[in-house]
Symmetry: C2
Subunit: 431 residues, 2 copies
């Protein structure tokens, strides 16, 4: 028996508010941060997980991860890896901690960090990148990872089995294709709300020359700004590159419908987060009123129960998973299967700290073992903060290269931790 | 200018798991706890607020409240009290902290504790119990407390004004009636899942002799247990006393419908939390299939956006606010107005630590200034832990007496804090 003996958290904050990378209509000055966890076995294996936040409160997120330490310290790691579904349920259904959500917010994201760290450790021990490790599991093993509680009116174990069985025969071919061609990406780099028109145009032109087929612009602050910026972007990228827009929850339902109609001449490829991520019926009303324009959401959707309803209500055209918002890999696999069940493509949210690194594994697993398709699918990409990762995500020619290093690409460099640890790191002592 | 100078939190835990008071199908062994906040001005005025939790993780909740200290320390308390709507928006829309929800879970409950503490302080300074203090505000002042963001498709400022105007003429008469007759209560005391059949029968008989018109039983663990316990309860209380049942989120949609049909012969007055509190569409499906039996939910509903949808979807017959789950008094007033707009009665969740103390003020305000009605309305009551409060809620003859002490009844006794502070208090040092 190999025990998990180390559980160490750190509050990492990067001063991104200085150059307004990451700025949008709801988040004018984020300091991109990570509540970062390292676990280690007595045999010396390690795993890493984290929650992405945008600054203040990252200490609360660290405290929430620490609250889970007693549930995993001393764990038999071989048994845990052999029953990741059981480990997930153990964390989610600790009744006292569950009261703090249930299954939402700080406590649920903490569970995701722990689960993801154990997956990182498991894939490292297997010597495989996580996407390949997951894609090598049997259909029954994958189904066993999922907590079907509250899902059975939309997705049953047998329906999940059917989806995975259908994709089974082509797994090897698609994995090979990923290693050769990678996975489509789009870039949010030009579109941060705090950027000047000149910077927007320059970065939009760069995105096209870098091979991206879609860029994304933040909107929702001021309508005339949005129209001017969309015109600049469309004039720059031409008609052949898609432009998505992202309102970051800024609008009420009626405002969203009216505002989006004004943007329609610029043919946005989707409208992201038009209103509260909690408002399933609001998203459904917006989608109905702006069709054929598409609605996308998910980066702030708290758990599989809300995703289930977004799909049941016909509220979204594009489902955007986030690697650190829900309860980790297990819940994200449930969400991938829900999306497949309803025939809705998954285009993950990324950027932040390490979200590109993590979520590429989930999309590649989706392609190999679940949806079997790249149609209308792409992963968001933002250029910043990758240098802090031991195995950074690589995008070339507008596509994510398939990770080949063992694990979940979650490990942050020791020198970055020393510099950006808050408040003791050298970055914060100097400021 | 009077500044807010003290912001002090404490982790309080009561060892309720010993006698299984509070046990249900999802929470077998809670230790009822409070993340407790005291604020004080330089002039010596104080206010108290807290979040109710059930044990582990109460330290995370305390950390979340502490994260708000920089936003209120040094605040001009006169200006804050004069613009409680503005203070609420300041806390809810701190963009970096909002990322941790948004508006849900640990961080949102922390905002509720701070807002409630300021309301306690405001009512104390005014020398009035909170229900009376709120009921003395003008219609415009009340409307200004509310954050209508994400509500405007269901409740506008003008609709809220109409509701409050309609209730305005009868305010004084209803306040007088409350002081004379109190507000109807029901009791959960007999029904905890961990209690023996004998204890259930004894406490159910006591509830009837104490004057309660409704008792509530926990269900959802085992169907044959539920049927046996319901029979005991019905045989004990007779046909004239209502019996509500509470599944505490135990079921999926289909299971809920099937299980509830089995309970139908015992005529439960409502079915509480049949499934996930996040599942608006699930509640709607259950309600449609078990009609005319009634569906109640709300104690774990995270914010006004989900309540809005439960009402829009026709998913509930009874709306159960909780005093410490959402963003404080302001958001609960928004929810009371939503309920009034849709004609759904509010029957608050209570029990826990101090929930009876707080929520009685909200229901009494609802009666005086919003709904103007007691029809089908009652506040939950559980007998334990009131002794720790300086001004405990008083229930006599099955009715809450209207509080007359100034404030929100939120202050916990100093000797209780010394005993139950975790882990340093005398209670926990001895155990």
């Amino acid at each position: 028996m190999t025990e998990l003996v180390r559980f160490e958290t750190v509050d990492l904050r990067f001063p991104t508010s200085i150059d307004l990378a990451g700025s949008d209509a709801m988040n004018p000055d984020p300091d991109y941060s990570a509540a970062y966890l390292t676990i280690r076995t007595e045999a010396g294996d390690s795993g890493h997980g984290f929650v992405f936040t945008i600054g203040r409160g990252n200490d609360v997120q660290v405290a929430a991860i620490d609250a889970l330490a007693p549930l995993v310290q001393g764990l038999d790691i071989d048994a845990a890896i052999a029953d990741m579904g059981g480990l997930s349920r153990k964390l989610v259904y600790d009744s006292q901690l569950r009261w703090l959500g249930p299954e939402k917010g700080v406590m649920h994201m903490a569970i995701g960090a722990v689960i993801n760290a154990v997956w990182d450790l498991a894939a490292r021990r297997a010597g495989k990148p996580l996407w390949e490790f997951l894609s090598g599991m049997s259909v029954d093993q994958i189904v066993d990872l999922i907590d079907f509680r509250y899902l059975s009116d939309a997705l049953t174990p047998s329906a999940a089995t059917d989806i995975l069985q259908s994709a089974f025969p082509g797994r090897a071919t698609r994995a090979e294709a990923l290693l050769t061609y990678g996975y489509p990406a789009y870039t949010t780099e030009p579109g941060w709300l705090g950027y000047s028109d000149e910077k927007l145009a320059r970065l939009a032109a760069e995105a096209v020359s870098d091979g991206f087929g879609q860029i994304k612009l933040k909107v929702g602050g001021d309508l005339s700004d949005d129209l001017r910026r969309l015109k600049i972007a469309r004039d720059t990228v031409g008609p052949g590159v898609r432009i998505a827009v992202d309102a970051n929850q800024r609008w009420d339902v009626a405002t969203a419908i009216e505002w989006i109609r004004q943007l329609q001449p610029y043919e946005p490829s989707w409208i992201e987060e038009p209103t509260s991520p909690d408002d399933v019926l609001g998203h459904a009303a917006i989608r109905k009123n702006i069709a054929p324009l598409k609605v996308a959401t998910g980066e702030h959707v708290q758990n599989r129960v809300v995703f289930k309803q977004l799909l049941q209500a016909g509220a979204i055209d594009v489902l955007q998973i986030d690697a650190t918002r829900v309860g980790g890999v297990n819940e994200n696999i449930a969400i991938l299967l829900l999306a497949a069940q309803f025939g809705v493509p998954v285009c993950p949210h990324a950027g932040g700290v390490g979200l590109c690194e993590l979520v590429q594994h989930l999309s590649m697993f989706d392609f190999v073992a679940v949806s079997g398709s790249l149609d209308d699918r792409m992963i968001e990409h933002a250029a910043h903060l990758h240098e802090h990762f031991v195995h950074p995500a690589v995008v070339q020619g507008g596509r994510y290269r398939a990770p080949i290093a063992a694990g979940f690409s979650a490990e942050i460099r020791a020198d970055s931790i020393a510099q950006y640890q808050f408040p003791g790191g050298t970055q914060w002592q100097d400021s």
